[in-house]
């Protein structure tokens, strides 16, 4: 997260623009490392299969080899995007923003929103993004040709200035998210099972290997909100609370058993990371929400003034 101690509406606009331009053509280093590890894992599995039987491994071998090719293509695509500045993916997404305002911030929400929208508009033009937003979900669906509006969530922070977290949310993966309203006694197994079921239904559609944002607790919409917030966490960074960090590992391991694999071709790496966020809830419920990101997890985390958590 880059910081900026003196900032104006103009710097907010510029940094939103530059952050999105960077996000469209780069993924974080930790994600590239995770993809490279996934490729090494699949190559190892494929090799182990050959040496175990001494004969070609039939469909299992085909699945692994196709998944290997998918991961090789993804890594090559990342290099081409860096070199050419062409977007990683033609679906440059709907912009989802998380804006946290701390006590040091003297700007009005309205002015901040205008600056963020102006930054988005500039990035869309300069980065040759696709115009992917229509003005009405049901009737006519006329393209706004600006990629606005963005989906912006506002929170307050007890300390610091202003944080703006942005993601370019592609809809191949967004269409595969889901919510399960579990019984309060469903427990850890119920939660893990509900998530696995949403991932199974998604199959190869969301451009696996995927990243999972999980929201637990609150109400239905709060859980969905948390699941999206979870996706802002740097890839692979565990939850600070041990039981939740352990739950994240358990979900990741359970999801790999689905054998969806890169490209949906059936390899052993279905997900790259899992991040869980939680909130108190009602005695009668246990809401679980899942937001899925494709491997192209594109985000920008901008800090203005003192540190301020989203």
């Amino acid at each position: 997260m880059s910081s900026d101690m003196t900032y104006s509406l103009d710097t907010i606009r510029q940094r939103v623009r530059d952050g999105l331009l960077e996000a469209a053509t780069h993924v974080e280093d930790a994600l590239v490392d995770t993809l490279e590890r996934a490729l090494a894992t699949e190559r190892h599995e494929s090799l182990a299969l050959s040496s175990a039987s001494g004969i070609p491994g039939g469909q299992e071998r085909d699945r692994l080899d196709a998944s290997i090719q998918a991961l090789e293509m993804i890594l090559e695509n990342i290099k081409i995007s860096h070199a050419t500045r062409l977007p990683l993916c033609q679906d440059t997404g709907m912009v989802v923003g998380w804006i946290a305002v701390g006590p040091e911030c003297q700007l009005s929400m309205h002015a901040i929103e205008n600056a963020v929208n102006a930054g988005i508009s500039e990035a869309v033009l300069l980065g040759y993004f696709r115009n992917s937003i229509v003005d009405d979900p049901l009737f006519n669906r006329i393209n706004t040709n600006t990629n606005l509006p963005a989906v912006l969530h506002w929170t307050t922070s007890p300390t610091g200035g202003l944080s703006i977290a942005l993601m370019l949310k592609g809809f191949g993966s967004e269409n595969c998210g889901g919510v399960a309203m579990l019984s309060p006694t469903a427990g850890e197994d119920g939660v893990v099972g509900a998530i696995a079921s949403i991932v199974r239904k998604a199959g190869g559609k969301p451009c696996p290997p995927i990243i999972l944002g999980i929201g637990l607790g609150g109400t239905m919409e709060q859980a969905a909100w948390l699941s999206k917030k979870a996706l802002y966490r740097p890839v692979g960074q565990p939850h600070p609370q041990a039981p939740y960090a352990q739950l994240e590992r358990k979900i990741l391991s359970r999801v790999q058993e689905e054998r969806i694999g890169a490209g949906g071709f059936g390899g052993t790496v279905t997900a790259l990371a899992v991040a869980v966020e939680h909130f108190p809830t009602h005695i009668a419920g246990l809401p679980v929400a899942v937001s899925i990101s494709c491997w192209a997890d594109r985000k920008a985390l901008l800090q203005f003034g003192g540190a301020c958590a989203i």
Binding site: R63, M73, P87, L88, Q90, R130, G172, G263
Partner: protein, 174 residues
């Protein structure tokens, strides 16, 4: 198996492809996605002529990002094929030979592939920049008002795909 193939396909070619075959395609492909499918389908149902003949062609499910100056196209990776499932069998009955997209497809599409000796090809999801380097030219065919959802002709060169479903009922998503 790995093949370098020239488009448009012949039916004996699509009939001979098998799941997991790796192809590099060169030649013309039609681009159409959600709204274009709905419109083409409505024209078909009404018995009207389509703006482009589907017989023998390949449809790529894609909506490109904007084209930067000096390039043939912007990022242009595949979109999720399942959203086109309701429209595809009728298009295959009109002679469409192949579709290119990402992710699994419905039973109805699997049956249409068997019935018409077609093939479903899977492109690598999210690899928009890579695919941009495999497109030589683009031209709008129909529905320009749909912007990124317009129907296009693309000339592709060494365009990498894997056979996802074949006319023997094979599927890599099974």
């Amino acid at each position: 198996m790995q093949y370098k193939l020239e488009l448009p396909f012949k039916r004996e070619t699509t009939a001979g492809l098998r799941v997991y075959d790796r192809l590099e395609l060169s030649g013309p492909v039609l681009v159409a996605r959600d709204q274009a499918h709905q419109r083409l389908s409505a024209l078909l149902s009404a018995g009207k002529e389509l703006p482009v003949a589907l017989a023998g062609q390949t449809i790529y499910y894609m909506g490109p990002s904007a084209t930067p100056p000096g390039r043939a196209i912007g990022a242009c990776g595949p979109t999720t094929s399942a959203r086109m499932d309701d429209f595809t069998p009728a298009f295959m009955d009109c002679g469409l030979l192949a579709t290119i997209g990402k992710g699994p497809r419905s039973k109805e599409v699997a049956q249409a592939i068997i019935k018409n000796q077609c093939v479903y090809l899977v492109a690598f999801g999210g690899c928009g920049a890579l695919y941009a380097t495999r497109v030589v030219s683009q031209k709008i065919v129909a529905f320009p008002e749909l912007g990124p959802e317009a129907v296009l002709w693309l000339m592709v060169k060494d365009f990498p795909v894997i056979v996802g479903m074949d006319c023997l009922g094979g599927s890599i998503f099974a």
